[in-house]
């Protein structure tokens, strides 16, 4: 109340009172406390990462106490629960790469085609409808896509191309196709953003010189947006490598060391999900194996993510 009166007196112009203090009327500990709380929430994300690394690292160290590092990385037989057990990760690593590659083979042309159409050809009205619908596709739970692959895609493809499904209903190629469906909106959305961020002046200059729409899209806009487009592909690849439910349902469970799309394969993610759901005791070699495979998966996706983040940052810096 006193403060108010002082200020009031100034407002009225005349009074000969001493000027009010410029020092804080209270130390405002609350503000500092709030800032501390907010900062600790942000730091929680760092703790999460640390926890992930620790939880992967400790059992992985135990694992390599029993299994040789080269036996793991370069061994060609994967049978961790058999006697005698074999811990060669190559079959499931190749399984992961195989399903991801088949997925990308489908998703890259479809995703980039959609992106070019959205950013260069679509009318604002069409865009306003198609983009959200694609986002819905991105939001469909992967278990649903997996079921679609298992119950629909697999029999249909087996009927048309029998060589694609050796052991019905499981197939690396069909799993890849289902994953690809899920990757299309990721590629389309990020690449579309990158291409739309290309300054309009560049397009107009090209049109002004009489270029066709196709040439503007492929030779002007596409190259200018290339870092964002590559980022979208890398992110999609990282999602494919980390995808679990689709491969669990469609790819089968046989650790075959092959890139054959018709073969059934076991991926790293499927191995983790399958093994961890069973009844396993902490500290057993099977338990540690889950973490060793998890560590490899984490490192792979981390490298891809950091690469993608760098690229995205680059194109945002250029245009914003």
């Amino acid at each position: 109340m006193e403060a108010r009166d002082t200020i009031g007196a100034f407002g009225r112009g005349g009074a000969d009172r001493p000027p009010p203090s410029l020092e804080a009327s209270s130390p405002r500990y609350g503000e500092k406390l709030i800032k501390g709380f907010l900062a600790s929430c942000a730091i929680l994300s760092v703790i999460t990462t640390t926890a992930i690394v620790i939880s992967l690292l400790l059992p992985t160290a135990d694992f390599f106490g029993e299994v040789g590092f080269t036996d793991f990385l370069f061994g060609t037989e994967w049978a961790p629960t058999f006697t005698p057990a074999a811990f060669g990760v190559l079959p499931i690593l190749v399984g992961t790469i195989s399903t991801s590659l088949w997925g990308m083979l489908f998703a890259v042309p479809m995703g980039l085609g959609s992106a070019i159409w959205l950013s260069e050809y679509a009318s604002p009205k069409a865009r306003k409808v198609v983009k959200p619908v694609l986002e819905v596709l991105a939001g469909i739970p992967t278990v649903a896509i997996g079921i679609f692959g298992l119950v629909f895609l697999s029999p249909v493809i087996e009927g048309v191309f029998p060589f694609m499904v050796n052991v019905p209903p499981f197939s690396a190629g069909v799993a890849g196709l289902a994953i690809g469906l899920m990757l299309v909106p990721i590629i389309a959305s990020i690449s579309d953003d990158a291409m739309r961020a290309v300054p309009g002046g560049l397009r107009e200059a090209a049109y002004g010189l009489g270029s066709t729409k196709m040439k503007v899209a492929t030779r002007v806009v596409f190259p200018a947006a290339i870092s964002g487009i590559i980022a979208s592909l890398v992110l999609a690849g990282s999602r494919a490598v980390g995808e679990t439910m689709v491969v669990l349902l469609v790819a089968g469970a046989s650790p075959n060391l092959t890139f054959d799309p018709g073969s059934s394969v076991l991926t790293m993610t499927a191995f983790i999900a399958q093994t961890a759901t069973g009844d396993i005791s902490t500290g057993s070699i099977t338990y540690d194996t889950i973490f060793a495979v998890g560590a490899l998966l984490f490192v792979l996706t981390l490298i891809m993510n950091i690469f993608a983040i760098r690229l995205v940052r680059k194109y945002r810096e250029v245009y914003e």
């Binding site: 109340m1 108010r4 200020i7 009031g8 100034f10 407002g11 009225r12 112009g13 000027p19 009010p20 203090s21 410029l22 020092e23 804080a24 009327s25």
Partner: protein
């Protein structure tokens, strides 16, 4: 850079017209000067004392070595070409420059003898006493009433309804909005929005109101209303206004400071420099510095 050269161009375009207005102004003023001056215009109380104030962003200097006093209950104008640092200078008077992490203020800004940048000074307390109106009207996305009531509420001032009405009346806005106080402020015209921002500032009873080109986004009619308002406001408040419009400075201010852009051709640096600070009448009729004369007569811009 682009913006600056454009401004220069438009100023040049307008130069002849401006000059003729200037001539009229000079006549007016010389008539007034004929009457004997009874009071020393610098004798009154002062709010700010700037002593060798320099502002820099990171390693680049923005305003160099400004010393001036700003009187109480008058309108003081800062004029000069764009890039001369007049807005920067204004924003050090209520520590809005603190929001830019790299900004640094050297020298002393004394407010009633207290250094605004003293170690114990709280910028929040400073801004309660020294309000600010911005270049672009920036009402909050709330109702008209809540816009004005926001300040009194957070400062814990009582009798909100009365304060809001008084502030809106003070800003000559009450009659236009009294029937739609609950409407969103975004529905108002630009000029109304700017007067709302002035009302918002008045509602917390500051001693000083800083105005950063308050009319640059407004049409001539709205501008005239805001200018009329300033003339009334100076009875209660001390006002410092930045403007690039010389006629506006001549119309509304009692004192005028003229800043220019200095350039170091070798390094490519530019910074603002105070050239002349005097009564507005003298700045426009009888400037002491030839650069001021060139600027106010429209020879350079």
């Amino acid at each position: 850079m682009v913006g600056e050269s454009r401004v220069k161009e438009t100023l040049k375009d307008r130069a002849p017209e401006e000059q003729s207005e200037q001539a009229g102004l000079i006549q007016q003023i010389s008539v007034r000067e004929a009457a004997p001056t009874e009071v020393d215009p610098w004798a009154g109380e002062k709010v700010f004392d700037l002593e060798h104030v320099s502002v820099s962003y990171g390693s680049s200097l923005a305003v160099n070595d400004v010393s001036m006093t700003i009187p109480k209950n008058e309108v003081t104008a800062l004029i000069g070409p764009s890039g001369c640092g007049k807005s920067t200078l204004l924003r050090c008077l209520n520590r809005m420059n603190d929001l830019i992490p790299s900004a640094r203020v050297d020298g002393e800004v004394l407010y009633h003898g207290q250094n605004l940048y003293g170690s114990k000074v709280d910028p929040v307390q400073v801004r309660k006493l020294i309000g600010m109106v911005f270049q672009k009207p920036n009402p909050f996305p709330k109702s008209i009433f809540d816009n004005v009531a926001f300040g009194p509420r957070i400062l814990g001032l009582g009798d909100i309804d009365h304060r809001v009405e008084k502030a809106l009346r003070g800003a000559a806005l009450w009659d236009e909005v009294k029937d739609r106080l609950d409407d969103n402020a975004y529905g108002m015209s630009g000029g109304q929005q700017q007067r709302l921002c002035i009302a918002r500032t008045m509602a917390v009873d500051p001693e000083v109101i800083l105005m950063d080109e308050p009319c640059s986004a407004l049409d001539p009619i709205s501008t005239a209303k805001v200018e009329d308002l300033m003339n009334e406001l100076k009875e209660q408040y001390s006002i410092v206004i930045v403007t690039h419009n010389m006629q506006q400075a001549a119309r509304v201010s009692d004192k005028t400071a003229f800043l220019i852009v200095e350039m170091d051709a070798a390094e490519g640096n530019r910074w603002g420099q105070l050239v002349e600070y005097d009564e507005t009448d003298r700045i426009f009729t009888n400037p002491q510095d030839s650069r001021t004369e060139d600027y106010v007569t429209g020879k350079v811009g």
